[in-house]
Symmetry: C2
Subunit: 299 residues, 2 copies
């Protein structure tokens, strides 16, 4: 397989730079007594990362000619939710991770209480941003974004998936249960990232559904590769604590399928993801490229 | 002073029963693998409590003839946010409280990780409820509710106040700083409870502002009484861990003003709160009664 194309690399870097500019503006340095909270929010949200979800959103939104301000603000909200979930997930009560993006995690750099609050504040802020008329002029669109993000991030989505992950430590899962867990834990927010582009652009239902289907397959492929990286990689390569699944005795795609079949499954899902985009007649090239290269994970 | 009137008692009990019915319907017993999460959400949200914020919202909404379904759903959302804040506040990393509403706190009854997730899920759910067309037919109203709740609950409101509370453990506060802390930590959500009634009822700005002003004074009076209770009371009476402020060496209204002046200040604020309601020509009787009796805190 070819290495990730320069075009995709550039497009992802551009989108990341755009959204980080908006994120930094949304998290100002205020110098108030509670500055420590804002510092922790900035540390947890502005510390790099692949910005995959913003890229998916911005690429999907471009299919419908959405204004850049709308997609960048929505991308920032999604990324704040992603970052909040990492901050809480890394807490001693949860995964107890010391390292994230090659730096100390938020509770290590600050303290546990500040990390809890910084996560809470980022999550809350995401909804404030989406409900703001600056994000989109149509209040129906804004309400749809809020409702869809809440569904993706809440008890029936990401948080529910994290709960399943905890439950999995004591009761082993089969492949169906792991698939459901991962669809909830990471798949729903990735699906929202694509779907939000369709919501912003008031896309027709078939296009919206195609993007959701694409994102679901992509999310699962992404997660399988994550499990492979966790099983095979080193902290230097991934920039975060690794080998935790194995230590915890957790069932993963890799532990059940084995590395070879897991990789084959990820490839299959990535191809399937790209096929959902046929409806866009080649205009969704960046999203197609992401599907092709997510299984290589060089970004 | 007279004991709390039977009328107010009945009205508060009715409102609490109405909103708890809605809250229970919104948190169904699903029997899924992640049921533990829903159990913890139900335990943390349906375990009683005064339901003061729902009562304020329902009373304010009645001034503008808001449909009961709208106000009950909005009240449930506010109470979910209040309950999430208690769950996270009680965590070992924060206040480390074992007792709340005369029962073990959520992390004691379940575990720390489940408590973090249950709080996250309740917060997220609140926004999903507000953005749902069932809450109000006008998407502008729903967006206003989401944005105002996020501002009240986020880094510039409740969560910021909790951060200030942590900072206060190491750097003593003066009366101005404590007032700001309490306005953020508890005042903003109480203010939103009243303001949301005006938003739902599309009230004119002077009425909306009157309700905010009422709620701000009420919230401060409420907090001063809370400090007095913490300093003077027993766990049996309050149903939660007490004496923590003193143990932590935290400055409170009571430690700075003394019990007598603190009580006088609370009375003054309660009177001032009630006067903001003059604009409603006696139609806001329940809210007036709350202001009068909040300083007695028999409910």
């Amino acid at each position: 397989m070819p290495s990730i194309s320069d075009e995709l690399k550039t497009a992802m870097a551009d989108a990341a730079a755009d959204v980080e500019k908006v994120m930094a503006l949304l998290l100002p340095d205020k110098g108030l007594a509670e500055q420590r909270l804002f510092d922790a929010m900035r540390y947890g949200a502005l510390g790099g990362g692949k910005r995959l979800r913003p890229f998916l959103l911005i690429s999907a939104a471009r299919l419908f000619g959405v204004a850049e301000k709308s997609s960048c603000r929505t991308a920032a909200a999604i990324e704040f939710v992603h970052c909040y979930s990492l901050i809480h997930d890394d807490l001693p009560a949860m995964d107890n991770s010391d390292l994230r993006r090659a730096r100390p995690t938020v509770h290590k750099a600050f303290d546990d209480a500040t990390a809890v609050l910084a996560g809470d504040a980022l999550l809350t802020y995401a909804f404030e941003i989406l409900a703001d008329p600056q994000t989109h002029e149509d209040p129906n669109v804004r309400c749809n974004l809020v409702a869809a993000l809440a569904r993706a991030a809440g008890a029936n989505g990401m948080v529910g998936g994290q709960m399943l992950d905890l439950v999995a430590e004591t009761s082993p899962l089969d492949i169906g249960a792991i698939t459901r867990l991962q669809r909830m834990k990471t798949g729903e927010l990735i699906a929202f990232s694509c779907e939000a582009g369709a919501i912003l652009g008031k896309a027709a239902p078939p296009q919206r559904h195609a993007l959701r289907a694409y994102a679901h397959d992509l999310g699962l492929a992404f997660q399988i590769i994550d499990d492979l990286l966790d099983a095979e990689s080193s902290e230097e390569k991934t920039g975060k604590s690794v080998g935790r699944d194995e230590q915890a005795g957790k069932a993963t795609f890799v532990s059940i399928l084995g590395a070879g079949r897991a990789r084959a499954q990820a490839n299959l899902l990535a191809q399937q993801a790209a096929r959902h985009l046929n409806i866009f007649d080649g205009r969704a090239r960046h999203l197609e490229q992401v599907a092709r290269f997510v299984v290589e994970r060089e970004f």
